[in-house]
Symmetry: C2
Subunit: 472 residues, 2 copies
Amino acid sequence: MTDAEAQLIEKAGQRLGPKAVITDAREIEPWVTDWRGRVHGATPAMLAPGSTEEVADIVRLAAEHRVPLVPQGGNTGMAAGATPPADGSALLLSMRRMNRIRSISADNRLAVAEAGVILATLHEAVHEAGLRFPLTLGARGSCTIGGLTSTNAGGTQVLKFGTMRALVAGVEAVLPDGSVHNGLSGLKKDNRGYSLDQLLIGAEGTLGVITAVAVRLVPAIAARAVAWVGVDSPARALDLLRYLEARSDSVEGFELVPEECLQLVLKHNSGTRPPLKGSHAWHVLVEATTTKAAIDIGGQMERLLAEALEEGIVGDGVVAASEAQAEALWKLRDSISEAERTEGQTLAHDISVAVADVPKFLVEASAEVERRFPGVIASGFGHLGDGNIHFHVRAAGRAAPDWYDSEGAEITEFVHDLVTAAGGSISAEHGIGQLKRAEFARLAPPGRIHALRAIKQALDPLGIMNPGKLVP
Amino acid sequence: MTDAEAQLIEKAGQRLGPKAVITDAREIEPWVTDWRGRVHGATPAMLAPGSTEEVADIVRLAAEHRVPLVPQGGNTGMAAGATPPADGSALLLSMRRMNRIRSISADNRLAVAEAGVILATLHEAVHEAGLRFPLTLGARGSCTIGGLTSTNAGGTQVLKFGTMRALVAGVEAVLPDGSVHNGLSGLKKDNRGYSLDQLLIGAEGTLGVITAVAVRLVPAIAARAVAWVGVDSPARALDLLRYLEARSDSVEGFELVPEECLQLVLKHNSGTRPPLKGSHAWHVLVEATTTKAAIDIGGQMERLLAEALEEGIVGDGVVAASEAQAEALWKLRDSISEAERTEGQTLAHDISVAVADVPKFLVEASAEVERRFPGVIASGFGHLGDGNIHFHVRAAGRAAPDWYDSEGAEITEFVHDLVTAAGGSISAEHGIGQLKRAEFARLAPPGRIHALRAIKQALDPLGIMNPGKLVP
């Protein structure tokens, strides 16, 4: 611990009380390693403010003592963006005590949640008010609103509702100079200069600490239909998406799964069974919802899929007959990453290309990776309707104790080069964090890097906000 | 003309050809005064690049010679944000030659339009493709996509579709260092650092020159219903909005008009006549649309209004029986500003408060202004559903040749103080430009001003992008 850190910790304790300062190494330990356990950090203390004013106090102290802060929510990030540096040179700023839902307005269809509110908690609270916050993802039981906003999170319902950027109506944040930016006014039209709200969304805590967020709500779901469909190819899957979109406004989830991934899930997850008879090269999970109880969304889905079958777009399909069946279908989709990790070494790439380019990219990139690195198995699954593919490369025939170290970087660069050549993004929904910073620096246009650095330097000249993240 | 300007003009002519450099004072003249004729600028030359590369060339020359540029589209802004300084110290950068619609994709529901494309032209082009760009406003025949994006324009359909910020999928721009930011990838998910797209939207050309924009499209309208409704008060108008919203997804325009404004329109616009028999203190223009030809949107509106009449929410109402009648109703709404100006001296304030606060604000602020400045007539009209009110103060009993100069500033400050006390914005959809810069500086939190200045300085250290605008 440096002298500056010791002074900051002492002053924080004096001002905010003992609850706000955790120095017990055992209490801190779960929060200094990233969710996937790949990046290990260290810190002498975790500060846990209970209010926006306390966050502002801490940021001012951090500026005074030149001690960097690493804001953290549920620690469920996929790019180690909330993991402190390993040398202990920064303090963790845990936002979990700021967990109040300040308001839910049915009239304005807005909720204001503090940064530490857990997504599932927000879901339940707005549901009780007869409304819905539509963004959801696997980590919903742990991830926080502040983290979701700071990473511009996506998830499974982006097709209809967009990412956090589209769902955030305003942000409250403490800027690196300790001033409070209050964007929670709820104004629908406001053109008073650059949008700090939008700048903070996706900034991964490098420009300030998000303390509360106003989020847009939509009418609650009255019913949903979940279907599992077998198709010949990703191109057919895209045909099905276009077919459904032309006939219905109700599709909000459209997840592509290769047969190979489904087989891994069935192999490693004892509670699962094949959703369709027979074998299909590719699968799609389709979710459609309605806010009107009078609409037979299941029947509608049955009809549309029957027509798509007749037209030769899909090979087979089944619509869940109950919520339990619907959950079972979603479980197949949600278990893929875990099954892959159980199967063996896997390199994950969260990438996106234009929606229309997904089929071509999937087929060609998989083939190119497997040709260049014989023995590996490359496949993509995920949010076809958003152009967002989790492109995974399993070691398989090349497995070796040092596989990650010996050729992980080379394979990832190869994948990222293919994505870049296709006009895509090497970070679709997981962010840059620590893990993708070098690749971002390698592949981004120099003008973009220059602009990002200039903005970072302008707003955080002392470099106290989440150092070593996002900005190369 | 300074030596630096002369050198820049000469080099621009050499590189881009004579078409791109206009120095004839008569040709320049219409573009150096703002749309309302209140602010008069001057410039030795108007540069009119025809491509993104030419814009980049000009920006690099401007940086080299330290000559500021004032980007301009249709010159229809309401805050003089595109008017050059009066001392001739900057060159106009007209974007109107960049007027290609680069692509329209029905599959992706996206169009890419260059900055100089006129809004009405885009409307027509996407309509031919069976789609719709939903943002629209009075100046649609002159305003450009670049200007609309740079000012985060609103208009009459924001209730359903949001402002430009919600409709822009990506921005191409030349940054102040001459590098090209290309955000036109069309990726639905992309988390590679701070969103320069969002930073440029609403930046009024102070951080770079927007050269092209990818905009989101929606299905074309099959039919619309336009109604004129009389109500007792703004509170009743809001009740009607909530009533309709709870029963229909199809309302996309909801414009509030006080009787007093309607009477001015009827007085000064010979082609107009009263839409309802009898007198009502307040009026609402409601527009509902459907994308499905099978839906009887007019009948639906008739039914809903009849129910609202029975419930005592509205006093009377009429649904246009034809497109011509619908246009006539919209004309009543669109003629208000013009009628007010014809009537006499008027101070316009484009302000917003939370939607739920509009009725209270309208009634109380009007009374306070009329009490503080006896003889004036204060009233608000506009986009109730967005909380965006055009709050106008007419000189009326206080009219005097020097009224604007003698008490205009004082009245505007008084109005802005009321807006600020109500948690509202002094610039809802018109921007800050030159005209609101002092008031913005007076009323914004110091932390916000500091952040805006830091961002401006970081991205435009030479101060060559639209000096004297937006950032106090």
